[in-house]
Symmetry: C2
Subunit: 496 residues, 2 copies
């Protein structure tokens, strides 16, 4: 990102010729895919692993985001009584057959180890795409009695799904980091209660950490509760075997990609302060060839004091002391990388005992008295966090349309909205809907620069917060070809 | 571990017939290998992954130990400026060839992915046995100038080495968790300084967390500083290329196995309080068929108060409320699992306003006034931690012999000592020493129950704390076939 100057150990006061920041070259509106790829690489969230396609290197600033999520979520599930485990990364073809239903969908994406050194393995093993088939045989062994329930384990690892489709950093990668929780409960009610608790934690990760609003509702189409060959004795009826109710839940680094897409702008990344490795960058300004050595030295000392004071207040701060770069170059560089707040300090600021600031999210500028930075900067960072959430929420709210007329659906989707419609809940009806809502309009450009066809819309959730106007056994499903009564308002959208 | 009672939902006051704890069946002295395997499985640190040999499942109590180490170490390396990254788990055969020297030793142990789904990969990829070959191409790309140095990245992951040798949980597994730090420095001195800092952190993990003493010294035989094709411009000489100095350092779950071996006894595991998921177990005692419902209820309430009070003091406490088990059964069960401190509470204790305790490490018993448990229990746990360290340290010290006579070396090794001898430092001399110190005496029993031959001794380190009596250019190397002068006292031992 930051090429060295032509003159190593360059002297202050000169103005060496340095290349300008190699910024984002396309707009989000004109070519979303390319914009996204430039942002995640130029802002140093990832690098492409050129040795093997579909794999990405997570660099320190994305690891910071992931670890913030991990630390918070881990603490919360510990409170729920979930314990941590670490299972091997391989599954044998034998256990694969036993637990077919969990792996079948992944079969075309399994990475098979067939050799160790130069010897063929007697039985090939696959890298886990998810760990049900790895773990469940042990659940059957460890859960001996209803007293062992609830039985709850979680692990943090990476999984491999050798996608044939086009891959994208964070959003679809052949290996990704995640947590996978696998739990067993005595009753369906207890399992369902846990699902709601976990969904609430996931929503909090999005809302409180990533400043991304979510619609709370029941997860549709996700078969959270399934039955397995793990049984316990019914505590109410001696000798009777009960199947346990099993949940699986996972949160992956995909959320980072969603965050990038939602907050990023044409200058690059915009990071919510709570997950930004660097929250504040301090840049010296107003130094010219005429500035005396004494003034320079004084400014340097004061910048150091600012840094210490912010560190002491728990702010993650970086001073950009790179020599041979103009302040303008540094501004653009840190703006591109999404650092939430820039502080500038020069002779004029020093004379007024203030620092100048510039917000990354809004571009708003102002000054803060030096004496108050330890309280005002953390407060400003919290304001930025909340404003980013509110801005995204306003966008989402204005792009979520409640529709009673089928004719409005496709135009609404083409204009990048999601829609709430009365829906019967039948899978066959959803298939029809998906088919009817494919479109050629407003197509995204693909990585090859050519437009891609728009997908049909899929059901996303049944919002807890239901619009009015739907009367049971009276209001019809909005799909004209359906004819059934609608059960509830359901949110539909095209997925990316 | 804990089989259910014959009567589900069993009633209090009855004495159901329950099987005794399935304890450790051999002594540490008689059959060390079997003792170790029973301890790690019956105490629920691991389970064998029967689907694929050489792999183990880490259960919550070992994950607790590992996470305690991870959290502490991560905080320390952050202070040193090491950043976190996550590289893909696969390396291509191409990068393997480029970075041959790092992978050559691992070649027979590489797990090769040759298929994805049912399609053969064009180029097979190997699961990382360590990540130098995965990472270094990017170091060459990212390090543009001496100003990018030191360049320090660390990652927490698992690696795969498909060992042909006999595997053992923690000590030698085909997949294990570790951290791997890979750093680049401008000078050899700076790289060497980092090595000492990291070795000091590792020593602290052993000593302060696992209560295992280590001899501090220079790591012998580990080629920490190697040269690679990663260059920067010499800051002192324009246009001159400098190779950077590279360090690699790793700490793995192997340390858990070492801890088990050192502290465990014939009753099972003994856990240092700082890494024990459960530090204190509370067991109700003295309840018989004659005990009134009121007394029972009162005891239950008081036990709950004890639990809350300890929780409030930051103690990790578990109340064993399992019905249908005698206190004696519970005592044996928690002793086997290594919980550092047992608290017993019954009508007599209640009458005296005390709790009775029993230390796992020494078996020492006593009482603590109920009013003081919030201060005395944490203090007692710290005492246990320190006593465990001291006991191990005394054992090590008394089993570390300073020898001036070659004839004493093999008998000392056979009696399970390590030795400090004057040594010339030549690899060819070490090869001779290794050969001369093989022995048939005091052989360990292997997993097949048959004695295994004892290995020859290897150099372990040059202790900073050197015994006296070695005169440069006068004292000879202790190996009778050598004849060179000794450079320093070097610690040698047989490895397990
Ligand atoms: Zn319908
Ligand atoms: Zn010698």
């Amino acid at each position: 990102m930051a090429p060295p100057t032509a003159q190593a150990g360059g002297k202050q006061g000169k103005a060496p010729v340095v290349p300008l920041t190699n910024g984002i070259t396309v707009t989000k509106e004109a070519n979303f895919s390319q914009w996204y790829q430039e942002v995640v690489t130029k802002c140093e969230l990832v690098d492409y692993y050129t040795e093997i396609s579909g794999f990405y290197i997570l660099r320190p600033s994305s690891m910071y985001i992931w670890n913030t999520i991990r630390t918070w979520f881990q603490k919360e599930i510990e409170k729920l009584g979930v314990e941590e485990t670490s299972f091997p990364m391989f599954l044998s073809s034998k256990s694969l057959e036993k637990e077919k239903e969990h792996v079948e969908g992944f079969a075309p994406e399994l990475a098979w180890v067939t050799k160790a050194g130069d010897k063929d393995l007697e039985v090939p093993v696959a890298v886990r795409p998810t760990s049900e088939a790895v773990m469940y045989p042990y659940y059957a062994k460890w859960i001996r009695s209803h007293r062992d329930l609830p039985f709850r384990l979680n692990q943090w690892n990476s999984v491999v799904r050798w996608e044939a489709k086009q891959t994208t950093p964070f959003l679809r990668a052949r290996e990704f980091l995640w947590q996978e929780g696998h739990t067993a409960h005595l009753t369906e009610e207890l399992a369902a209660k846990e699902v709601l608790e976990i969904l609430d934690l996931y929503a909090t990760v999005y809302e409180e950490l990533l400043a991304v609003p979510v619609v709370r509702g029941n997860a549709l189409g996700q078969n959270f509760s399934k039955m397995f060959d793990i049984t316990v004795e019914d505590p109410n009826q001696k000798g009777e075997k009960l199947f346990v109710w099993q949940n699986s839940w996972g949160l992956s680094t995909r959320v980072i990609g969603v965050m990038v897409m939602i907050h990023g702008d044409n200058k690059g990344l915009v990071l919510p302060p709570r997950v930004s490795k660097i929250q504040v960058v301090i840049i010296s300004v107003g130094i010219t060839a005429k500035t005396s050595a004494e003034v320079r030295e004084n400014l340097g000392k004061q910048v150091e004091e600012l840094e210490n004071s912010l560190n002491g207040a728990g702010v993650r701060v970086e001073v950009d002391n790179r020599e041979g770069y103009t302040p303008g170059f540094k501004f653009a560089d840190w703006e591109m990388k999404g650092v939430p707040l820039r502080l500038e300090f020069g002779p004029k600021d020093a004379a007024n005992s203030v620092v100048s600031y510039s917000r990354r999210d809004t571009g708003a500028k102002g000054t803060i008295p030096v004496a108050e930075i330890a309280s005002q900067v953390p407060a400003l960072l919290e304001t930025i966090q909340k404003d980013m959430y509110n801005k995204a929420n306003e966008y989402f709210t204005s792009h979520r349309l409640v529709l009673n007329d089928w004719a409005e659906v496709v135009p609404a989707l083409d204009a990048r909205n999601v829609v709430l419609i009365p829906f019967c809940g039948e899978p066959s009806c959803e298939d029809q809907i998906k088919d009817k809502t494919k479109s050629d309009k407003h197509r995204e450009l693909g990585p090859d620069g050519k437009p891609q066809p728009s997908m049909g819309m899929k059901s996303l959730c049944i919002p807890f917060d239901q619009p009015s106007g739907l009367v049971q056994n009276e209001t019809k499903c909005l799909n004209p070809g359906c004819g059934r009564f609608a059960k509830s308002w359901v949110m539909f959208g095209r997925s990316y």
